[in-house]
């Protein structure tokens, strides 16, 4: 059977369809072949675990009840296995009600922390990044040197920055308290209060995250045509007006992307909280992601509760992203 007759006649639907499939395949097989490995890996390592995680959140799975069988060695060395009587089972929405009513864990405290943490970090990232990018976008001597030096925190792995700042904030001999004492102020017990501990974590994360914002915004600034500024200058506008009416609108595509990504990343930022505050004092600075991690891997491993946290985090982020997109759309953004 030749392809042309089958596709051309169109009388017999079976071969014609196969012909079309065949042609689609002939035309696109290399594109699919190029995408396939990635899709396969993502399917196996993102989508499949995701589905599993969601299912686990409806069970009471923990470290102790995950086995299907209980095996015991007899004296002769043989093994005898019996079905595990306390095996995990479905519990419906039990985990969710427990979590949201505060029966287990401190969901609302963690949520409050997460929101404060994300808002403070993203806001400061963006504003400082924008300010530095605007400065670096001008022509002056030493500009590329400043740029390289300002990106340095980005090259430092997050956990190293976390330890570096924990060292600086050390209540006994940290540099920050030493400076405070030198200035005649009282040293601060940074990790003994909820908000001072949170402050230390936010400072660390802001230090860490500003370079990315700066570089991304700088890229956006350079894509704004210079003619727009020249035209605005001809009209006798002030620098502030030019910033307000040329720079800000010109940056919008970049801003909307980096703010969305920044929010998601900060929301899920694990190492800073885990290492800088470690939840001190007494778990009061834990955020949702670290809370979930501790449920899963510390003490008695409660996999189902951790999964429930995960589903709630994912739901919050999906709702946020959808709302964000909606707001952008209502402002006429094509995104």
């Amino acid at each position: 059977m030749s392809l042309s007759t089958a596709a051309g006649s169109g009388v017999t639907p079976g071969p014609a369809r196969r012909g079309r499939l065949r042609r689609t395949f002939d035309k696109h097989w290399y594109a699919w072949a190029m995408v396939a490995p990635t899709i396969f890996v993502l399917g196996a390592l993102v989508l499949y675990p995701l589905v599993r995680g969601i299912l686990q959140s409806f069970t009471n799975l923990t470290e102790t009840n995950q086995r299907a069988e209980v095996c015991s060695k007899t004296l002769g060395g043989a093994e005898s296995c019996t079905p595990n009587p306390d095996r995990w089972h479905w519990v419906g929405l039990h985990n969710y009600t427990d979590l949201l009513t505060g029966e287990r864990g401190h969901f609302w405290l963690l949520l409050e922390n997460t929101i404060v943490w994300t808002l403070a970090c993203v806001l400061l990232h963006y504003l400082i990044g924008l300010g530095l990018a605007v400065l670096l976008n001008r022509n002056f001597r030493g500009r590329s040197l400043y740029r390289v030096l300002l990106i340095v925190p980005w090259a430092v792995p997050a956990f190293v920055s976390a330890f570096a700042w924990k060292f600086l904030f050390n209540p006994k001999f940290g540099l920050i308290n030493s400076v405070l004492v030198h200035l005649g102020l009282d040293p601060v017990e940074w990790f003994n209060h909820r908000w001072t501990a949170m402050f230390a974590a936010v400072v660390t994360n802001v230090w860490l995250g500003v370079p990315f914002m700066m570089v991304a915004i700088l890229g956006g600034l350079q894509s704004i045509p210079a003619e727009l500024y020249e035209a605005a200058e001809m009209d006798g506008t002030s620098p502030w007006q030019r910033f307000r009416h040329v720079t800000v609108p010109g940056l919008r595509p970049v801003s909307s992307t980096v703010i969305l990504l920044g929010t998601i990343w900060t929301f899920n930022m694990f190492p800073i909280i885990y290492f800088v505050t470690g939840g001190q004092p007494a778990g009061e600075t834990e955020i949702l992601v670290t809370g979930s991690y501790r449920a899963a891997f510390e003490g008695l491993r409660n996999y189902s509760l951790a999964a429930t946290y995960g589903v709630v985090i994912l739901a919050l982020l999906v709702v946020y992203a959808a709302a964000y997109r909606r707001v952008l759309k209502s402002k006429g953004e094509v995104w």
């Binding site: 290399y30 993102v46 050390n170």
Partner: protein
């Protein structure tokens, strides 16, 4: 009062001073934690824990000697290097091919794939880590480097594909057409024509994957059990338990960890701005 409006690139000495002052302050803040850790790593233990501020205090390399010869640090370091390089090579190969296909070809399923990549950015490590842990346990991969490479690829690949697609979009498709006319198939075109042109974009992506693997801790702490198999992120915390932290070992270790990262960074940084812009503004 009439004043000649000033152009954008001319400044009064005063505003020039303000500009440099701001940038100097910002640069100082960006550098000083790194510099302070470096200085502290050269002090003996009791000097590190002193409340007096000294830049130098009996400088010595003793901390480095102890970290390198009396702890498992060299093992952790080697593990991290292996994991980061494998993640980089595998991640780049996968995301470059996928990114190229998404940039050049219109094929059925393309939109779905793009969405998939964007959405995976949203998945918190919290929801994936337990199921991935179970999968790795079933495959017998817990406590191996392979488990980490696989997990990190799944984190890095979607973002890198997205970025590289944006970068390939900036390479004129006419070049592909010309290559096709010369009789090159799609794979050869990709390999001989497009990839060499995409070097800056690849550098940024390589940088990103390397740093992702080099700095990740959550999977590393959960998957690796034995001291010899730990990576740096999981190992370093052993120097500073809540009671009796050893900041002398930690600071020296931190400096040794920052070195390779800054080397990779130094080579990637000149392409950094160009590559990110191409990927970022595409959205």
């Amino acid at each position: 009062m009439t004043r000649k409006p000033r152009g954008r690139d001319e400044r009064s000495p005063l505003s020039s001073l303000a500009l440099h002052a701001t940038l100097v302050v910002a640069t100082t803040i960006a550098l000083f934690p790194v510099v302070w850790v470096l200085l502290a790593s050269l002090k003996p233990q009791d000097a590190i824990q002193s409340t007096e501020i000294h830049l130098f205090d009996h400088p010595t390399l003793e901390n480095y000697r102890r970290v390198l010869f009396e702890t498992s640090f060299p093992h952790w370091f080697l593990n991290s290097v292996v994991v980061a390089i494998f993640t980089m090579v595998i991640g780049i190969s996968m995301s470059a091919t996928a990114g190229y296909a998404l940039s050049r070809f219109n094929f059925p399923g393309k939109r779905g794939v793009m969405w998939l990549f964007l959405i995976t950015q949203m998945f918190p490590v919290a929801i994936l880590i337990v199921p991935i842990y179970t999968i790795m346990a079933n495959l017998g991969l817990i406590d191996t480097k392979a488990s980490l490479v696989i997990a990190y690829c799944s984190v890095a690949v979607p973002f890198c594909t997205w970025m590289l697609r944006g970068y390939f979009d900036t390479i004129p498709p006419e070049l592909d057409d010309a290559a096709a006319l010369d009789g090159l198939g799609p794979f050869k075109t990709f390999w001989y024509v497009v990839l060499p042109l995409a070097r800056p974009g690849l550098a940024v992506t390589a940088f990103y994957t390397f740093l992702t693997a080099w700095g990740e801790v959550a999977y590393a702490i959960a998957f690796i059990l034995s001291d010899k198999n730990l990576t740096l992120g999981a190992g370093l915390q052993q120097f500073v338990p809540r009671f009796n932290p050893q900041w002398d070992l930690l600071t020296a270790g931190a400096v040794l960890i920052m070195l390779p990262a800054s080397l990779v960074f130094y080579f990637a940084q000149k392409h950094l701005v160009a590559g990110l812009t191409a990927g970022g503004t595409k959205g």
